[in-house]
Amino acid sequence: MAAMARGGFSRRDFEREPARRVFAGEIRESRIHFREGDDEKSPTYVLLPTGERCNRVFLVGTLTEKKKQGDQNLFYRARVIDPTGTFFVMAGSYQPEAMQQIARIEPPAFVAVVGKPNVYETPDGAVLVSVRCESVTPVDKDTRDRWVIDCAKATLDRIDALGTTPDGERAVQEYRTDPALFRKLVYEALSQLSL
């Protein structure tokens, strides 16, 4: 009723998925992915080893390499490095804005990436996680450092809450997550910030 009175569409019906902060070293370990609901448009999630579902990520790192691929269906692949490892980032014709942004970037450069993580298996059986980007924007070092802090905090929060939520329990079961390993990852990432 309330929605009808306001034009038949309630803004509250739609909740945008938050962009999780995840280090490359953690997302690399992700294997479990699932769809919530039966609808074709239902959101898909990657389950992080520290126990949170993740439909979108926000990451800041150094774009070190980019490669244009395909003829008909042009797309870009790029590598973005954070203190713990490498994100594999891609943008195709469905992400024209991100593609144009990558085209203009001269590596190496600090970039902020918003995108959706995908888990897929290579023909030889290896599992890879890539990020299909919505945007790739050049930023300064200060933003990168701020992100490392932000991501460290978010990761520690997840570790502290591990096992206390249904997603957390599932992560413990599926990944046999060792919290100490991820604390170490966070510690190493923070240590690389210039003090």
């Binding site: 945008r16 926000f58 604390r183 510690y187 910030l193």
Partner: protein, 407 residues
């Protein structure tokens, strides 16, 4: 004490059921119960009525109109009798309703509705009445009293002075509320019939208020403190709103401490939506809609005399929740370092036109950490100040400790 009123009423009730009862006899019985046996008047009335009901084998007589209650004790669905003062009369929304307004006693206040079909006498503002056999109903989460054709209304004389209890804004519930609050914001009216709307605050919280155009209604002065007695508290999409058309408005001297109406949110700007940057607005008075590329307003069609504006619509995300923000011109200029004049010049001299402004904004602020404060409307934040969030080395040490060392 005079029992004739009550006696007459009871005898009329009996008569309505097709029997005769002598009011003088009834009055005598009442007097005996009250004066000789010390029975409270309401209880005496009940016992006399019960006796008559038995005598004539009537079912529906009972105590006329249910138990007598204070306003704060009413429950939805019950029949009741109350004695209360009309403290406000409001315009009626429908011809089926003869009168509506607010009743109060020393315990509280309640909305009331008199159905046109009730054929009730006109109630007057400021007078006390006894309502027998009214029905307590619930509408949109707040209870009200329905006066129907079976309700017996009698004016009574009381000289009790009612002092409505003032509620902290945070404790308001749907129904009637009285607050002492300061007008901290005045917003553009969104409707022809609206006189004023804005935000009230006290130390506990903030609440939206609205005054509808009506004879004798005046606007509140921003920055002034008011005591607002008997306002109607409504709920719209999860938020409360005070309708002041029913309220007694008393300006107060001096100032009171208030909490800020603004909320703050920090995060990364993860998306800038289309419609950000330099935009054109419809110049028709009161319209202000955004025009399409062809200068087309959905209401006023082609408007070559458009007005330029700058804004950013986007999503700010802290990793746990993401919130829609709308940054208006001044804050946009300050955040992007591009003035409206510069943006216009850029758009006019660039092959990409207004898109160029959007792209520059994107390169300057997308993916950056910001802290915004502003007011919340329909789950969107209208930002009135926004700062970049910088890297703070102090945080590193604390987090290193939390991570527990290199081991």
């Amino acid at each position: 004490m005079d029992y004739s009123d009550t006696a007459t009423r009871i005898s009329l009730n009996v008569k309505a059921k097709g029997h005769e009862a002598d009011p003088v006899k009834i009055a005598g019985k009442l007097r005996r119960l009250v004066e000789e046996f010390g029975v409270p008047p309401a209880e005496a009335e009940r016992s006399v009525v019960n006796e008559l009901a038995r005598e004539f084998s009537l079912n529906g007589l009972g105590t006329p109109g249910g138990e007598e209650k204070n306003l704060n004790a009413l429950l939805p669905g019950e029949w009741t009798t109350v004695e209360a003062k009309v403290v406000s009369l409001t315009t009626t929304p429908s011809p089926a309703i003869a009168q509506s307004g607010i009743l109060a006693d020393s315990t509280g206040a309640i909305r009331f509705v008199v159905w046109a079909k009730a054929n009730a006498p006109r109630l007057e503002d400021g007078k006390w009445y006894r309502f027998e056999s009214a029905v307590v109903d619930e509408y949109r989460g707040s209870i009200n009293l329905k006066i129907h054709s079976g309700t017996v209304i009698r004016e009574i004389s009381r000289d009790t002075i009612l002092a409505p209890a003032v509620t902290p804004i945070a404790d308001l519930i749907p129904g009637i509320g009285s607050v002492k609050a300061k007008v901290i914001q005045e917003w553009d009216v969104t409707h022809d019939r609206m006189l004023q709307n804005g935000l009230l605050a006290d130390q506990s919280g903030t609440v939206r208020f609205v005054i509808w155009k009506e004879e004798g209604k005046e606007r509140l002065t921003p920055g002034t403190v008011y005591s607002l007695y008997y306002a109607m508290v409504d709920e719209y999409s999860g938020r409360y709103s005070l309708n002041l058309n029913s309220a007694t408005v008393v300006p107060e001297e001096g100032d009171i401490p208030v909490i800020s109406g603004d909320s703050r949110f920090a995060g990364a700007l993860v998306h800038i939506a289309p419609g950000s940057g330099l935009i054109k607005r419809c110049p028709v008075e009161g319209c202000n809609r955004v025009l399409s590329r062809q200068n087309y307003c959905p209401v006023h069609e082609i408007q070559p005399g458009f007005l330029y504006d700058l804004r950013i619509k986007g999503w700010l995300d802290d990793g746990k929740v993401t919130r829609e923000i709308l940054i208006q011109r001044e804050v946009t200029e300050q955040l992007t370092g591009m003035s409206m004049e510069q943006a216009k010049e850029l758009a006019e001299n660039n092959p990409l036109g207004m898109d160029e402004v959007f792209l520059r904004f994107r390169d300057r602020i997308l993916g950056r950490y910001l802290i915004c404060s502003g007011r919340e409307i329909d789950s969107r934040m209208l930002v009135n100040s926004c700062e970049p969030l910088r890297f703070d080395p102090e945080e590193t040490a604390a987090l290193l400790n939390r991570a527990g060392g290199p081991s």
